[in-house]
Every structure is written in structure tokens, then in C-alpha cells.
Amino acid sequence: MIHSLFLINNAGDLFLEKHWKSVISRSVCDYFFEAREKAVEPDNVPPVIRTPHHYLINIYREKIFFVSVIQTEVPPLFVIEFLHRVAETFQDYFGECSETTIKDNVVIVYELLEEMLDNGFPLATESNILKELIRPPTILRSMVNTITGSSNVGETLPTGQLSTIPWRRAGVKYTNNEAYFDVVEEIDAILDKSGTTVFAEIQGVIEACVKLSGMPDLSLSFMNPRLLDDVSFHPCVRYKRWESERVISFIPPDGNFQLMSYHISAQNLVAIPVYVKQNISFFETGSSGRMDITVGPKQTMGKTVECLVVTVHMPKVVLSANLNATQGTYNYDPVTKILVWDIGKLNPQKLPNLKGSLSLQSGAPKPEENPSLNIDLKIQQLAISGLKVNRLDMYGEKYKPFKGVKYVTKAGKFQVRT
């Protein structure tokens, strides 16, 4: 299925390769490099590249290309999702998935790749199970290891592989039994010049951290389950029960996992937390322009907007920006032509404003298109869709667990056109 994997960095250096079947020469990557060159931007490399004898399926993540070599017909989504899973596993193990961490932990990377695929077929990809086979590096453990010379490999076989419920290992024991849920919602929206919504939707996930002894059977119910019509669940959730009663009933995996994800695309349900008043104009003569951006709260349900960042991709002819921010700091990178304005907390009494002039390359024509603004923000203790967890019940075990739910709203692909 997946024949080989090559990791290639942004500069085009191939820094890791792994072959699960026969060794395929690195030269197969030349087709990839050709496509990479043609695409100019690394983002634009097509995910599926056809070569005379293989298909190359690649993903681009954290400035690394994961290029897989395929020789037989496979479902493309399968491979793409698998490559993402590989990247996520690295992230899970090393805290971040970057070239440096992969090179630093090359031994664990090989161990992981060896366990995740055999003969090109996915074997163990659940992070629970992998972590029992290969222990992730921690500072403490690596120190202990250097002193005692012991290794970071599980001495016994993962029990999870032997239990009747594949996602949960048997005989789990905790002194503090706790179950925490994070409801994370991201707003994807495009607003047009006048501030009206062109498109908006919410992508939500419920992340769970469940540390409960034994075999608990949980059921989670919502105050307003009707909001959710487009959902997908972790395999542990009993789907029939959801369909009939709108209750999420499941035996949880041990540790961290994503319980469910959902989309809310009905536009009237999507509240837009901030508004942006902007005016970016370029003068016909004098090779300069003016910019004036104000951000204010719109529908925040009484909560504070935090971590507000406005990013502007300027046209190529903009050389520098001379601006004045009433709050926060701004930074214009003349190489990438990206203006980042880090506002921080949004104060509804005194709206943050960024105003000033832009200087353009002299002699260049006035840019045709105005740049668009990307907004990043965070609202704690609020799910913008209004989703609320009603209660969490546990059956099958006698102890009383600690329970908790946190809500957070973030901006996903939130864009304002000018």
C-alpha cells in the first residue's frame, strides 16, 4: 500500500526516508521536486503527483513535506489521512513536528514508523497503544535513561491490543478519577467590505481527557442537542443511541482523545464576535497609501475577546508601513509582505485602532486588489454556537469521578475582505 516515505524540508533537502517494501531510489522524488518548483509556493504543490511508475501523495505540514510513494491503486483519502496521522503522532511524541525534533529523535521516529506500518499496511496508529510500545521522550526520562542506561521501550506487550474493546486497555487504575471535556469551536468566516457575512460556519470538537479506573460507561447529554446535525464521533460512541435519544454514550479510551467533531453551517446560528472597520487605499500618484483599521466587539455574549491578532497580506509593491497603534504592537515584514498587528485583549470601551501611511515602490502602478485581513482571536468560557453540556453520568463503576467542562471559541479561517 504505502511503499516508502520521504520527509523533505522547505529548502528541498530530503532528510529522512523509510521503506516498508523494497528500497525505492531517492530519484523518484525528482518528480516531486519538479512539481515543487512549478508550484512556486510550497502551499501550492498538488497533493497527488503521477509519475510513470508510481503515484506520489504528499502532505505539507509544519514546513515539512511528507511524500509517500504508492505503487498500487489505493483510496487517496486513506493515504492522506494516514500521513496526517503520522505527523500528529510525531507532534504527540515530541511536542512539535519540526525538522529539528525529527532529526533529534531520529531513533524514535524510526521505531514509530516501524510499528505504524508493516509491509506498507497501517498497524498500530492509536496513540494509546503506540505509547505503550514506545514510550515518548521526556526530559526526566531521558535523564534517568542516561544515568541508568535503561531504554524507552515498553517491556510488556500493550494490553490494549488484547482487550475486547480495542481502544481501551484493561485493568486501568487511577487514584484520582477524573473526566474533563473541552468544547473547542472555531469560526470559519468570510466577511465582505461592508461587514456582511459572505460565508460563516462553526467547526467544533469536543476533546476529552478521561482518566477513570476500570471499565466506565459514560453518557454525555447536551442542553440543546438540536444544534448538532452534522456530527462525527470517535469509534467508541454508540451511534444508534445518539440517533434515537441524542445522548452520547460510550466507553472511553484511556487518556486524551477527540470524542466528537461537528459542523454548524446554518448562517443564522453563527455569531460573528468582532467587527472590523477598515480603510486601505492607495493613491494614484506619489506611490503611497493610507491604512486605518479599527476592531470592535460585535456578538460576544458578554465575554472578553482575547489574543486578538490581525494579519494583512499586503500587495507586493508595499515597501514599508508607518503606522500608529493605539493598542498592541504591529510588525511589517517587507520580505513576506505580511503585516501582523498583535492587539491582545479587546477593550470595548476603547477600541483598538491602527492608522498610518504605507509607502509603495516608486514608479510601480497602484495595486489592483486591496489586501484581505485575517483575524485570529480567542474567547474563553464560551461556545459561540451556544452549545452547552447538560450532564455527564457514569455507569459500571462505583467511585465518584471529578468532572469538568471548559468552553473556548477561536477564529479558524476568519477573513475580512477590503
Binding site: 483510496p75 489521512e81 500521513l83 531513533v107 524510526y110 542516561t146 462525527s232 464521533f233 459542523h263 477573513q415
Partner: protein, 730 residues
């Protein structure tokens, strides 16, 4: 840098590894081994350390074992004789009490890709198939496949195959799936693993225990199974039902494919499955990962071929974000064009309008072409936008707009007047050759409606010496000749100059020949020239096939969830690739009307992707008969339509419109009824026979071809089918 002084480094490592002091210090020893692996992964040749590394494999430390195994697997094929030394250690490890060590040793032993391994690994594998730890059994099952691939040409070991089939009942789900995978590889030449009724139902019942990867693979294997009865079919479908809502896109798509395949006779079930998967598919289209989004869009595109209405209300999901990669934007635009209806047309157009000024010229051109496609239905609004774009005076935009105008006039003759008015009102001269050709074509074909046309053309003739592209020159010749036919007084002088220059001074043979052709043609008189040069001004096939047809699901179900649709086209379709896709008859009578459209002359690259049929020179009865007898039948299928009840002349004429020539057919009332037809396509000749046994029975089509080109046959069959269906409707 690893490449400088690498020999020194290898020597140093060798010294260290063979140093007894180092060997006795576990930690230092392991650090050196790690170093070796690090160099190996950087592409340094450390194969000379093989002996020392083999020694290091005798350890209790699992990580060290893994590292050494990794090393051995990499270099075993280079040093087969030394690798044999390691086998003893490995075989000893295969009997280790720790199942992990057993599995590890077995897996690596199977990964030694060197000849002659089979005799050493066969016995441990067979033993491990009955191991009590499932981890070891998983490894052993795949080991069977690896063992087979070591000697691909030997006879298949029936004992192992039987053992693997028996292990399909293993309690561990991963072992079950690995068995399928291994059998599939071993039995590749015999058509892969056999899925009979007990196996199919066994797999279906265990689906819930599998992880998502295995589910997806099992679903693909199940495509081979054909339920015997409808009851069984619906049992299977209801078992699979919940997987349509899986949280993994690849499982959803695989399930959908299986649904479409199994329920091919039940339209309602198929439609229902498509409806239910539309939500997860849309979710994939807005996934965080851009590659997943792209794959999702490709799948949506396929579904839309049969159910264009399914996503109509969600058109806003296909608006492009600023930061999305271009390959996603192209797909989204293609989808948007399909989703346009009366309600959303103005919003979609406004959206597309904003892409037209994108920084990337390819994207801008694709957006303009997309507006052109919409213009075939909503001409007025689109023409306003396109005209507005001309005012931007951006070179690549102007060129794309003019090309779009040309395509629009060709497909949608009622917009001709408006287009001519716009072009007349003054457009900038496009600078690239594609744009120039388009403008010249417009001037030539519709010069009678544009007062200033001859003067624009004169500008081009004056600048002929600096023109580099020969296709532009040929287009200019054709356009001038056409213009001369409708406005001789204004054009005569410049045509003379043009012909003189092209015949006397032009170095390009094609241009000179074309000029000579016209020159001689004009000597025969204006009437004769008119008869040859003026072709149809719009696409003649439009009268037969109007609007986009909803294709049956079976047309695309077989390629659903495969790599083809994702890699099939170039990821950035050029503007003419989009328009060429809908122009099956572009090469209409190209021998006679050389100038009517230069797309076919601009190079084989354009036509390779999209196959069009053409008439070519007529075939005599004798030569047809001879070829028919010589060639073998390549393709036979029941078309599922009966013979149209129209007059034979109508049938012949409509086939001819689609560039299918009729050679002969039996009188209408004879049984069996037969017809012989033929057509040409990109260098191949297709001969076909239509046969109808009894009245009202389905027509059976037999196709012969020379040389073989399966794409052309498929194209031919679909064209033929649509013609017959259209005729039957009337």
C-alpha cells in the same frame, strides 16, 4: 557535513565498536550504535561496519536490537553473506519469551530483502502463525506475503494459503485484516483473495472491531462480493449503514463506494446514500488539512456528475479563502460553475468577479473562464462583468476575457451581438499569442458586425514582422481572408500585403503553405473561396445536446475513491483546457476548414487530455469491410436503449452531427436490425456495429478499432449513447 571526511568517521566508529572497553559499557556502546544509524539515515555509507553491528545484536536491550535490525535490513542486500551470520541470532530471538522480541525478530528477518532467505524464514513463520500472542501472529501473517515477494515466480504454497484463509477466523481483528492483505499479495496473479459468502458475512460482522484503516480496506475487499438475493443485499447494507457517518472521511467514502456498487440496480438506495454522505463530504471539503479538503472536493465533483442538485444550497462552502492553495481554488471554481442556479447566480458571479483580480494570473484566467461558462446560461450578467474587467487594462485579464468571448460566441450564438459591440467599443490588444488568436478569430468570424475590424486587423498586419508565433500568423491569414469575403473593399489592399509577405518573406513553412493555399483559392474566385473558408460560426452540436446531462452513477462509481480523479488532470487547468473539455466537435472537418479553429493545430498537447471524435475522410464500403473482417472485437456492450423510431435520415444526420459517420443500415422493419458506423479520434479509427435482435430489445454495440485506444472507445460509446437517448426522447 557528513560527506567530508566520511571515511575517517567510519573508521573511527569501527574502532570504537570493536573496542572491548566500549562494548562492556552498555551506554557508550549504544551511543555509538545510535551514531551509526544517524549517519545511515543521512545517506552515508556505513555498510563496512556490518560485522560489528551483527555482534551488537546479541543484547537484551530492545532499543539496541531495533537499531541493529534497522541497520541490517538496510544493508542486508549488499552483504548477503554477512547477513547470514545475523540470522542465527534472529532465529534465537524468535523463540524469546517476550512476544515483542519474537515479533520484532520475525519482522526484521522477513525484511532482509535478499535471495535465499526463504529457507531460513519459512519455518519460524509457520511456527509464529500459531503463536499465542496476537502481536506475533500479525507479523507472521504479513511475513508470508514478504516471503512470497522474495521469490515471486515460484509456485504458490497451498499450505500457507490454506493456513491464512483459516486465520481469517482469528480472534484478533488485525490478524484478520493482515490475512486479507497477505492473501491479496500472494494470490495477485490469480485475481487476489476470494471473498465468498461466509467470508463476506464474517468480515461484515467484525467490522465494528476494526480500526478505521482496516475498515476502509475491508470495504474495498467487499467490492468483490456479489450478494445472491435482494434480502441479503439489504442485510449487508443495513450492517454498513453506520459507517456512512464515520468520523474518518476515508471510511465514509469507501462505504459510499461499496453502497453505490452493491446497490447498482436500486437507484433509490444509491440516491439515499449520496444524500446521507453529502454532509460528511462537505465536512471534508472544509477540513483543516488542505490535502483532505482537496480530496473532498474531487469526490464532491464526482458526485455532482449525477446529482448536481445535491450541493446547490451549500454553494457558499465553495467560495475560496484568500490563503487557500491554488489547486483547491481551481477545483472550487469548477464546482461553483456547476452549482449556479437562478437564485444564487448573482452572488456566485460577484464572488468569481473578485477572483478575477487575483495575484496569480492562472487563477485569474481560470476565474474568467468560469464566468464564461456561466455566461452560456446567464449571458447578460456575465457579459457586464467581463466587459467591466476589460476596463482594468491588465494584460493577462484582457487576454483571458477575449478568449472567453471567443468560446462564448462559439457556444452561445445569441450573445454575438453584445460581444461584438464590446470588442468594437475598443479593447486593448492582448499581448500573448492565445489572446491574439482569440481576437483575430472574433474579427474574422464576425467582422461584418464590427465597423472597426479591418483597422484593428491592419494594425496586426503592419506589425507582422515582429510577430513570433506562427499560429498567430496563420490565424491572421484566415481571419483576413474571411474578412475579405464580407468586406472586400476595405480589406483587399491589406490582404494583398499580407499574402505577399507570407509567401515571399516568411520562413515558417506552415505559414507559407497556408498563405499559398489561400492565394490559389482566391485565384479560383470569391465564391469558391467562400464555400471553403466560411464554416459554421457556432457549435453545431448544440442543437442536439442542450444543457448538462445528469450522468448515471455507474459512469463514475468505478473510479470513485481512486487516485485517478485526483491526479487525472493537471492541477492548474489552463483556460483552454476548460473550454476544450466541452468541445467534442472542435476539430469538425478540419481538413476542409483549416482556419475555423486553430486549437487543433496548435499542437497535440491540447487534444491528448480530452478525446474528440472527428469525421475525417470518408471510408469506402470495401475498405470498411476489409478492416471489419481483419480486426477483432475490442468492446461489446448492450447500450440499454432501443433503436430510435425516427426516420433513417434523421438518425444518420444526428450521428453525423456528433461526428459519427454511418456506412450502412438495414431497412427499418427487418429483424434483426443492423447498422454499421465509424468515426475517427486522435489518430485512431473506430468501427462499430449496432445490432437489435427483436423489436424493442436493447441495442448491442460491438466496437473494433485500429490502433487501440480505450479512451477513444469510451468517449465514442458515451457520445453514441447520448445521441440515441436524445433521439428516443423525441
Amino acid at each position: 557535513m557528513p560527506y567530508f571526511g566520511s571515511e575517517e568517521m567510519v573508521k573511527e566508529l569501527k574502532r570504537a565498536l570493536s573496542n572491548p572497553h566500549v562494548q562492556s559499557d552498555r551506554l557508550r556502546y549504544k551511543n555509538y550504535i545510535t551514531k551509526v544509524i544517524r549517519y545511515m539515515t543521512q545517506g552515508l555509507d556505513v555498510s563496512s561496519l556490518f560485522m560489528d553491528m551483527v555482534k551488537a545484536s546479541a543484547t537484551v536491550d530492545i532499543v539496541q536490537k531495533k537499531l541493529v535490525y534497522l541497520y541490517m535490513c538496510t544493508y542486508a542486500s549488499d552483504k548477503p553473506d554477512l547477513a547470514l551470520l545475523a540470522i542465527n541470532t534472529l532465529r534465537k530471538d524468535c523463540a524469546d519469551p517476550n512476544p515483542m522480541v519474537r515479533g520484532l525478530a520475525l519482522r526484521n528477518m522477513c525484511n532482509f530483502r535478499m535471495p535465499g532467505m526463504t529457507e531460513y524464514i519459512e519455518q519460524p513463520i509457520v511456527a509464529a502463525l500459531r503463536d499465542k500472542a496476537s502481536y506475533v501472529r500479525r507479523v507472521a501473517v504479513l511475513g508470508c506475503a514478504k516471503m512470497h515477494s522474495l521469490q515471486p515466480n515460484t509456485e504458490i504454497d497451498g499450505r500457507i494459503v490454506n493456513e491464512l484463509y483459516a486465520l481469517l477466523r482469528d480472534p484478533d481483528p488485525v490478524v484478520v485484516v493482515n490475512c486479507l492483505r497477505a492473501l491479496e499479495e500472494i494470490l495477485k496473479d490469480e485475481g487476489g483473495v476470494v471473498i465468498n459468502k461466509p467470508i463476506a458475512h464474517h468480515l461484515l460482522n467484525r467490522m465494528k472491531e476494526l480500526d478505521s484503516w482496516a475498515q476502509s480496506e475491508v470495504l474495498n475487499f467487499l467490492l468483490r462480493y456479489h450478494p445472491r438475493s435482494d434480502d441479503e443485499l439489504f442485510d449487508i447494507l443495513s450492517l454498513l449503514d453506520s459507517f456512512l457517518q464515520s468520523s474518518h472521511a476515508h471510511v465514509v467514502v469507501s462505504t459510499l463506494r461499496l453502497f453505490l456498487h452493491l446497490a447498482s440496480a436500486h437507484r433509490a438506495v444509491q440516491a439515499d446514500a449520496l444524500l446521507r454522505t453529502s454532509a460528511p463530504l462537505l465536512a471534508t471539503c472544509s477540513a483543516v488539512s488542505r490535502e483532505l479538503r482537496f480530496a473532498g472536493l474531487c469526490h464532491v465533483q464526482q458526485v455532482m456528475r449525477s446529482q448536481p442538485g445535491l450541493f446547490a444550497t451549500h454553494y457558499k462552502r465553495f467560495f475560496c479563502g484568500y490563503s487557500e492553495p491554488s489547486y483547491i481554488k481551481f477545483r472550487k471554481m469548477e464546482i461553483l460553475v456547476e452549482l449556479v442556479n437562478d437564485e444564487n447566480v448573482s452572488l456566485v458571479l460577484e464572488e468569481l468577479r473578485s477572483y478575477c483580480t487575483d495575484v496569480s494570473p492562472e487563477l485569474a484566467q481560470a476565474a474568467i473562464a468560469a464566468i464564461g461558462r456561466i455566461a452560456r446560461t446567464y449571458s447578460e450578467k456575465c457579459l457586464d462583468i467581463l466587459t467591466g474587467l476589460l476596463a482594468l487594462k491588465q494584460d493577462h485579464i484582457t487576454s483571458a476575457v477575449i478568449q472567453t468571448f471567443r468560446d462564448l460566441v462559439w457556444f452561445c450564438p445569441q450573445s454575438t451581438a453584445a460581444v461584438c459591440q464590446t470588442v468594437e467599443a475598443g479593447v486593448d490588444r492582448p499581448q500573448d499569442s492565445e489572446g491574439k488568436q482569440a481576437l483575430l478569430w472574433l474579427l474574422g468570424a464576425h467582422g461584418d458586425q464590427m465597423g472597426s475590424a479591418p483597422y484593428v486587423m491592419e494594425g496586426y498586419i503592419d506589425g507582422l514582422k515582429t510577430e513570433l508565433s506562427s499560429t498567430v500568423k496563420m490565424e491572421l491569414l484566415t481571419a483576413t481572408v474571411k474578412m475579405f469575403l464580407c468586406r472586400p473593399a476595405e480589406t483587399q489592399d491589406m490582404l494583398g500585403r499580407l499574402l505577399h509577405y507570407c509567401i515571399e518573406e516568411e520562413s515558417d513553412v506552415c505559414v507559407r503553405d497556408r498563405a499559398l493555399l489561400y492565394y490559389r483559392l482566391l485565384q479560383r474566385g470569391a465564391e469558391e473561396t467562400r464555400r471553403v473558408v466560411t464554416g459554421p460560426k457556432s457549435d453545431p452540436s448544440m442543437s442536439v445536446l442542450t444543457g448538462r446531462q445528469e450522468e448515471p452513477i455507474s459512469e463514475w462509481a468505478s473510479t470513485f475513491n481512486t487516485l485517478g480523479p485526483l491526479a487525472g488532470r493537471d492541477s492548474c487547468p489552463q483556460t483552454d483546457a476548460i473550454s476544450a473539455a466541452d468541445q467534442p466537435s472542435y476539430s469538425a472537418g478540419e481538413e476542409l476548414l483549416p482556419g475555423s479553429e486553430d486549437v487543433t493545430l496548435s499542437g497535440p498537447g491540447d487534444t491528448e487530455e480530452e478525446i474528440s471524435l472527428s469525421l475525417g475522410a470518408p471510408l469506402s464500403h470495401e475498405s470498411f469491410e476489409k478492416m471489419w473482417l481483419d480486426l477483432e472485437i475490442l468492446h461489446r456492450q448492450a447500450l440499454g436503449v432501443s433503436r430510435p423510431r425516427t426516420a433513417p435520415d434523421t438518425l444518420q444526420a444526428s450521428l453525423q452531427l456528433e461526428k459519427i459517420q454511418t456506412l450502412a443500415f438495414t431497412p427499418a422493419d427487418t429483424v434483426p436490425w443492423k447498422a454499421y458506423i465509424y468515426t475517427r479520434s486522435t489518430g485512431t479509427l473506430i468501427l462499430a456495429e449496432l445490432l437489435q435482435g427483436a423489436t424493442d430489445e436493447s441495442l448491442v454495440l460491438s466496437v473494433k478499432q485500429q490502433p487501440v485506444n480505450q479512451h477513444a472507445i469510451r468517449r465514442f460509446v458515451s457520445v453514441l449513447k447520448s445521441v440515441l437517448q436524445t433521439l428516443n426522447l423525441e
